[in-house]
């Protein structure tokens, strides 16, 4: 568990971080270090330079911008879990964050690192995708925004370009009569998601579904949006039988991942079960 030699720079501002990355094209950004450092210690990653963004104040914290919430990239999972603003306005994020790793991991790991690392078993990617979040990037050519649906490109690959850092995530504030749920089937060894289902259900005044979202971690190489399922739910009264029928009929997972613990075929089955459970729970909360 001894990484190869590397140089270390600590950036005081986003601007300095971007400059450092320009000066050291092989550099890696270091945030909470809870994905990057283990890989370096196992010598699976060997960046010659680390640019530590961990103490840039402007990247921290959660702001209420009225119709949306802004979450700084350095916000830790623990802060997500404990945030009053999120508890009131976007409980899906704390519900998922609380299921990440253990207390120590949640105190160090950051939302930015979690999303940029894009491990298929991570808990936040599908949540941000389900929320239709927007990712704010800063780079040598200024800033840009990427929608969550365009952010996760492949296994551990995102739209973040070399030289760019993720500065914040913005999610829209959900409307009335909306309920959310994140349910996770955890891998008994790693604790990562074998299947993690994020569901959002918004009801019309008459109790029918106005809008819904259902996204998964863990079953495919990038977070999977089960649009077919949620499209089919809209307009219906979401009783148990309807949810079950819609999921059974419309959930089609292409190219599931598998490992010695859980095969692809089994993950597809889990996705069905967790889709039903998560949608029902979100519905119950929307009705409450």
């Amino acid at each position: 568990m001894y990484p190869p030699r590397f140089d270390y720079y600590r950036a005081a501002s986003v601007q300095e971080a971007v400059q450092l990355l320009q000066a050291h094209p092989e550099a890696k950004v270091l945030a909470g270090g809870h994905s990057l450092l283990p890989m370096m210690k196992l010598r699976l990653a060997a960046p010659p330079v680390l640019v530590d963004i961990g103490r840039i104040e402007e990247l921290r914290g959660i702001q209420d911008l009225g119709d949306r919430l802004r979450i700084g990239a350095l916000t830790t999972h623990w802060e997500l879990e404990r945030s009053d603003i999120l508890a009131r306005k976007c409980p899906l994020i704390p519900e998922a964050a609380a299921q990440i790793g253990d207390r120590q991991v949640r105190h160090r790991g950051t939302i930015g690192g979690n999303l940029v690392h894009a491990d298929p078993g991570s808990d936040l990617p599908a949540v941000i995708l389900a929320l239709d979040g927007t990712l704010h990037l800063a780079g040598p050519n200024g800033t840009r925004q990427v929608a969550a649906r365009d952010f996760f490109l492949d296994l551990m690959t995102t739209a973040v370009q070399p030289g760019e850092i993720l500065t914040a995530v913005e999610v829209p504030v959900l409307g009335e009569r909306t309920g959310t749920a994140y349910l996770k089937f955890e891998h008994p060894a790693s604790g990562y998601a074998v299947c993690g289902a994020a569901a959002i259900v918004t009801l019309n005044a008459d109790g029918t579904v106005a809008q819904a979202r259902l996204c998964f971690n863990g079953i495919t190489s990038t977070p999977f949006n089960a649009q077919n399922v949620t499209d089919a739910l809209v307009g219906h009264t979401p009783d148990d039988a309807t949810i079950e029928g819609v999921v059974d009929q419309h959930l089609h997972v292409g190219d599931p991942m598998g490992d010695v613990f859980a095969s692809g075929a089994y993950r597809v089955e889990l996705a069905k079960v967790f889709a039903k459970r998560a949608l029902k729970q979100a519905r119950d909360r929307a009705q409450a």
Binding site: F185, A189, V260, F261, A262
Partner: protein, 784 residues
């Protein structure tokens, strides 16, 4: 006895451990110390064509780089030997570093000694090794077939031994006349020990005196010294000192003598500086001896009343690429001999084929052979119960060895010392409220919920072991234990024990024995273990032997102290020896307790020696070397209650009840802790753990990302209780408590799951029983 034995005293060793003051091997620092790192084969089977260490050797901070060739040329014996021989056992050499061929992923190829660990690991990457990859074989049942790659040229069909026990003819006859036969094919999954502290060594060699001091993570420093001397380094035994400082668990993995510690010592001798090696977690996954890994076919014959007539078992036992220290004993004398379980089985035959494969060596891991035997017997009992339409508890009752039949001679060599199997079962049934629980199970089934109740009425052989017996079975070691008790002139006590705790709490339990026997308080007792220069001799801690054998040695030595003290006291009291009693730390003439001489006074007189009985030697100390007359046989009933969710195969353990009988209990807190830990490990085997190799011999579950050890939140709160049937043949009446949990629980859990799935017609699921396996079992049998 007195106030200490039987008391739940908090562990005396814990304050240092939990405040970080205990020193583990890697905490130790010596001036001028260097660091070793070992290059390991990425191939399961390959010819080494060329090793070029020049780039690594030229790196700044690298002190030396060595290969197997260098070790061979240094003239040391340079191997790690096997310490248990079976008839016709193939014993291919196991060199400290591979020379011509590597035989498993993780086999050592070269070693770097450097100024710091960063440099050492950098240098490993600079060593160039040219391998010619060869086909590998990983499954023991496949490896014996014709045309499979050979692990060792001199072991045809990869067979290391073909061993059997019991009476084949009588067993065949039993099957011929049986009303019912049940059979089972099973894989007992391969496990990785996962001691909290990975293995480590610090070696310091003094070229002037020729003395080598080794601090290492050892469960048995004297065995390590012996093997270092005889087989690995060739240094005379009296010039080697092995010390085990604080050791963070072993579970068997730190019994064995591995190449790495010997390599580190050899490096220290070469470079003339202290050298430290600390395994990484992933290194322990590749090199710590694994456990279990059986492929078994088993059959049980029964009469129409459910009485067992015979048991027939054939097992392929995976030994890995080399024979680890006690590897041949584990799937034979610690397995085949346990197949009678708690039952009076008139005919048993067991054949075990020990097989080399291109995998990490396999050896003793908590329970060692006995969990595998228990699993075979207890699974068959449940299958038989189902086939005969009997309650699983009823079929067990009908076959229990009854309390009046002890000592009980089994058909597979062992003689059980004492037991009351029915009593333990009965107690467990009361705790779980069995009758109501079965009704509840039926009621929930109607609602589509699937609860299962699983039993494991187990036996184990502990207190290893009568030396002559194990010697006749092939052990190249004695299995007695020693204790030296020294009473200082002020009456304080130091004990030197050949046991070697690495988490078990001997400092506490042994002090309790001393305190009661001598009437001294716990603060006045020091327990010394784990240092070959301080402790006279010892065979260490494993096989649940420390209380039964080490504790017995201590009890005998304490009796000798009391007797010598009595002579002195009688002299001082001017009384006849036989009139002097010893009670609560005082000697007095029967009926005259106020004229007492305390042990402290007697000890002082023993040392001053101004006024001793004629012919009596001064000082007050005694040593005992205790060789047990038999194994001990703890037993009990474990019950698991589980719920299975059919749609996903998720498993919830609702309750886990353990009623163990470990004989007399010295410290219930420590025994409970041992039982808890063992159950957790056994549940780990049943539900989570499995070392999986792909067909090329890569360890797919090579880290804690993939290999699941149970976490606290996976487990229920265990309900533990006891019955007490003292061991009749040792002075403390203790049987041993270190392994009960891991021996009993896998069968209880799997029996519970299979019981839950009875409505789906599921008869067996191999461990680890993962949700996916359950899901497939349900779907493979229709209905979901």
């Amino acid at each position: 006895m007195g106030q200490y034995i039987g008391a739940a005293i908090k562990r005396l060793e814990d304050p240092a451990l939990i405040t970080g003051r205990a020193k583990y091997t890697d905490d130790l620092q010596l001036p001028n110390m260097a660091y070793a790192a070992i290059l390991r084969s990425p191939y399961a089977h390959a010819r080494i064509k060329r090793i070029d260490t020049s780039k690594a050797a030229a790196m700044e901070g690298v002190i030396a780089v060595f290969t197997g060739e260098d070790i061979a040329q240094s003239g040391v014996p340079g191997v790690v030997p096997v310490g248990w021989l079976l008839p016709d056992l193939k014993t291919p050499p196991h060199p400290l570093l591979a020379r011509d061929k590597v035989r498993h992923v993780g086999d050592g190829v070269a070693v770097v000694v450097a100024e710091d660990r960063y440099t050492a690991y950098d240098a490993l990457e600079a060593i160039e090794v040219e391998y010619e990859p060869l086909p590998a074989v990983v499954n023991p049942a496949d490896a014996v077939k014709e045309g499979q790659p050979l692990v060792h040229e001199d072991a045809p069909n990869n067979i290391a031994f073909d061993w059997s026990i019991g009476d084949k003819e009588a067993t065949d006859e039993a099957f011929a006349k049986a009303s019912h036969v049940v059979s089972l094919d099973l894989v007992n999954n391969r496990l990785i020990p996962n001691a909290m502290e990975p293995r480590a060594t610090l070696a310091d060699y003094n070229p002037v005196t020729g003395e080598l001091t080794l601090w290492m993570t050892s469960q048995n420093p004297h065995i390590h010294r012996l093997l270092m001397s005889l087989a690995s380094l060739g240094l005379p035994e009296h010039k080697i000192r092995v010390i085990a400082p604080a050791v963070g668990g072993g579970f068997g993995s730190k019994i064995h003598h591995y190449p790495d510690e010997a390599i580190t010592a050899w490096c220290a001798m070469q470079v003339g500086r202290p050298v430290k090696w600390q395994a990484t977690r992933m290194e322990t996954y590749l090199t710590d001896a694994h456990g279990r890994d059986h492929v078994t076919h088993a059959e049980m014959a029964l009469d129409e009343n459910g009485r067992i007539l015979g048991l027939r078992v054939q097992t392929y036992a995976n030994l890995g690429a080399y024979l680890s220290t006690f590897a041949p004993a584990v799937p034979t004398y610690l397995y085949g001999t346990l197949l009678s379980g708690e039952y009076d089985i008139p005919a048993i035959y067991c054949r075990v084929i020990g097989v080399f494969t291109h995998t990490t060596p396999v050896d003793a891991y908590r329970g060692a052979g006995r969990p595998e035997a228990t699993f075979v017997v207890e699974r068959l009992m449940d299958l038989a119960a189902r086939k005969l339409g009997l309650d699983p508890t009823e079929i067990r009752r009908r076959n229990f060895v009854p309390p009046d039949k002890f000592p009980f001679q089994t058909q597979v060599a062992l003689q059980y010392d004492s037991g009351n199997y029915e009593a333990a079962l009965q107690k467990a049934l009361e705790i779980i409220d069995y009758k109501n629980l079965r009704q509840e199970q039926e009621r929930l089934r109607q609602e589509g919920r699937y609860i299962g109740i699983g039993f494991s009425t187990y036996i184990e052989a502990c207190g290893l072991a009568p030396s002559a017996v194990v010697g006749s079975l092939g052990a190249q070691a004695g299995q007695w234990e020693s204790a030296l008790v020294r009473i200082h002139p002020t009456g304080k006590v130091t004990v030197y024990s050949g046991s070697s705790a690495h988490g078990q709490g001997h400092v506490t339990t042994f002090a309790q024995i001393v305190a009661d026997k001598l009437g001294v308080s716990l603060e006045d007792i020091e327990i010394i273990q784990s240092d070959t220069d301080q402790v006279q001799y010892g065979w260490g801690t494993y096989g649940s032997r420390s209380a039964a054998v080490g504790g017995s040695a201590l009890a005998v030595a304490l009796d000798r102290i009391v007797e010598k003290g009595r002579k002195i006291a009688a002299h001082l009291l001017e009384a006849a020896e036989e009139d002097v009693v010893f009670e609560d730390g005082k000697y007095y003439v029967k009926g005259a307790p106020d004229q007492a001489k305390t042990l402290q006074e007697v000890a002082l007189q023993a040392y001053l020696a101004h006024n001793l009985p004629k012919g009596l030697e001064p000082a007050l100390e005694a040593v005992a070397f205790y060789d047990p007359p038999n194994f001990t046989f703890p037993f009990g009933t474990h019950v698991a209650v589980v719920e299975v969710i059919p749609e996903t195969g998720e498993i919830k353990i609702l309750r886990y009840v353990a009623v163990d009988d470990v004989g007399n209990v010295i410290n219930p807190l420590i025994v409970d802790g041992q039982v808890h830990g063992g159950i957790a490990q056994g549940i780990g085997q049943a539900l989570f753990e499995s070392a999986v190799y792909d067909e090329n011999g890569n360890l797919v579950t090579g880290s804690m990302l993939d290999y699941a050890v149970p976490k606290a939140h996976f487990l229920p709160s265990f309900e533990v209780d006891r019955t007490v049937t003292p061991c009749p043949h040792n002075p403390l009446g203790v049987k041993g408590a270190g392994e009960t949990g891991s021996i009993a629980s896998p069968a209880a859990i799997v029996n519970a799951i299979v019981d839950a799935l009875a409505p789906f017609g599921v008869e067996h699921i191999d461990m680890p029983v993962t949700p996916e396996k359950i899901w497939r079992a349900i779907h493979g049998n229709g209905r979901s």
